[in-house]
Assembly symmetry: C2
Homo-oligomer: 375 residues x 2
């Protein structure tokens, strides 16, 4: 299986993610044989691959430094997550032939676990102060309610949503169109460092890969597929956020949009979504509306017997230590008290608490964290 994983890494650097013909070759031949076929210059016609495409892959194969990519990944403590891994979010497989072959992940949280209760908050780069404020508020409020905020790491709405989640000590995932070591936009270098430390940076492209316009669009389907719903906070008529909205709708995810002043160009894309007929998009004005759409905490996530989706035994030792350090009772215990009881440092405790909330073990209160009743 290690060969299969290395082959997928090779494909992520040589073939462009989202290319259906590559997915089909891997499905038909396995990743190892797909790589061998491409290296031999063989055109696997049933997959839809063309001579021209195979020639292009050949040229890029010479330029891709697989060992270098894995070395950089190891340096920042990153990892590669593949379908079948415990951390692989199975919702991605709903993308069918355009599902990712792997994800490069940077950060300590468990990708699958944090995305179980996640919402995408996306929008215009050239957002207005109104939109920035709304996105940051929503990011913070989703965090307070134990939901993970997924976005694209762009300027404007995306950045505000991530920052809101971070400010509320919540989980946030940035799905990038570049390597997870590349700060694009450069102005977000500090934000990405913070997300890497407290949340997750995720990409289909290997380290050092730079974003292109098509890559942003290809990336959007992952944002839509990872989450239970997508909220467009502000979008002009040509905003890339509308592309994410389109993916969310095709995947059967909840699609939501914020209203804004009719005089604001940056709300026109949202209003167009809301006016579309038949209506696929729900108007939302805050976290309560959003959670009404994606379902109250736990709905559809907890098992029928009401217990959390992840068995307690499957938690890693630090997470279990944090869970066991939370006293029973309805009142919230402050993070520092839990950290002290678990004999863990504050950052570790915070990230484990967020994971426990995302997986249904705990709930945030005004004063800290409490255990969910076992029901």
């Amino acid at each position: 299986m290690e060969d299969e994983r290395v082959a997928r890494v090779w494909l992520s650097g040589v073939c462009e993610p989202g290319d259906v013909s590559v997915w089909r070759m891997v499905k038909a031949l396995g990743a190892v044989e797909a790589v061998a076929a491409i290296q031999r210059g063989r055109v696997h016609r049933e997959s839809g691959a063309t001579e021209k495409k195979v020639t292009g892959w050949g040229m890029r194969a010479g330029a891709f430094d697989l060992e270098g990519a894995l070395f950089i990944c190891a340096q920042y403590g990153g990892r590669v997550v593949c379908p079948g891994d415990a951390e692989w979010p199975s919702t991605l497989d709903q993308l069918g032939e355009s599902a990712p072959l792997l994800l490069w992940v940077r950060g300590e949280l468990d990708l699958r676990a944090v995305c179980l209760r996640s919402v995408a908050v996306v929008g215009a780069r050239a957002a207005t102060p109104y939109g920035i404020r709304a996105a940051a508020d929503l990011g913070a409020e989703l965090s307070d309610r134990g939901w993970t905020v997924v976005s694209g790491g762009a300027l404007g709405i995306d950045g505000a949503a991530h920052r809101g989640a971070l400010a509320a000590d919540g989980n946030t995932v940035a799905v990038l169109a570049s390597g997870v070591d590349v700060a694009y936009p450069p102005r977000h270098e500090g934000l990405f460092a913070e997300i890497a430390a407290k949340g997750l940076l995720v990409s289909e492209w290997p380290p050092t890969a730079h974003p292109t316009r098509p890559r942003f669009l290809v990336r959007n389907r992952v944002i839509a597929a990872l989450t239970r719903g997508t909220v467009v906070v502000e979008a002009d008529l040509r905003s890339g956020a509308l592309n994410t909205a389109h993916h969310a709708r095709s995947l059967g995810r909840q699609l939501m949009a914020y209203p804004g002043p009719v005089t604001s160009l940056m709300s026109r894309g949202c209003h167009d979504l809301l006016r579309a007929s038949p209506p696929h998009t729900r108007l939302v004005t805050g976290v309560d509306d959003v959670l009404e759409e994606v379902g109250p905490i736990g709905e559809g996530l907890d098992r029928p017997d009401g217990r959390p989706i992840l068995p307690r035994d499957h938690l890693d030792p630090d997470t279990r230590a944090v869970l066991e350090a939370i006293p029973a009772g309805p009142r919230g215990t402050p993070t520092h008290a839990i950290a002290a009881a678990a004999s863990l440092d504050l950052p570790t405790t915070r990230s484990r608490l967020a994971l426990l909330a995302a997986t249904g073990f705990t709930t945030r209160t005004r004063t800290g964290w409490r255990l969910n009743p076992p029901t």
Copy 2:
């Protein structure tokens, strides 16, 4: 028939408009006999009238000065419009047992004709500058497109919509919860004078009647019934505009609402309408959206052969003179040139042009007015 009309005037002053039992008595007995029954203190049980109600009517009958009401009406050049009159808007009969028994009307336009292409623009009294601006813009743009703006004459959104229509030299109708000679709110005395001169003031209550809270609500059904659709521009959660919206929906009229910032209390009523499930309310952001909902000019109004709904021969002499003074051709002719050609004064010409636009004969252009192609 004159007796029937006078009896309805008496009922408008003695019984509260919107009272279903009065409507049923008139339906069963005719207005003259209904008045006689009330004067004799007879309780017409089948109508749902009660002893208590009849006693109340008896007390009010002593206080109502019918001749005085008709005298005041004559002084301001007003009139009473009853079902069956050429000017009676037949859409009001869709209110069934809560249909008005008559309307007191002040102004020169033909009520039925101007309401054929009309939209209600309503909203909060405590409107924000954003809402005021949006309502005034919509009022002016509806006027420019040949549509009549109907509203309730209140402070805030209502007043802005009327003023927008007046500023664009369009038709506007204020449906009041007081006599059409009563300036309520007092701050709108000048606005009502302008509407009386260029548009129409309409009420179910006789001259000198003052508004009460229930009367505002009873009045709202007339605003909804007169128009093809209702636009709520701003409304807080308890706004009376939501009551008008409710009537519009029950009558099968188009119901529309403006979005606004999620942080604005004055948009909360609109957002609630837009979020309701199933969605009865369409989000609109301007005149194009509104006309898309209520149908393009002429749709459903023109006869199947494409000719205007009112035959040319049925126009009054002044209106016909104005129509004949408009030269053929695609370019607009200025109002003053039409007035000169028709040998009429400017105010008369303006009101006739507005009527011709509302009934499908003419269209406003940047430079003036042109005839609609006969098709």
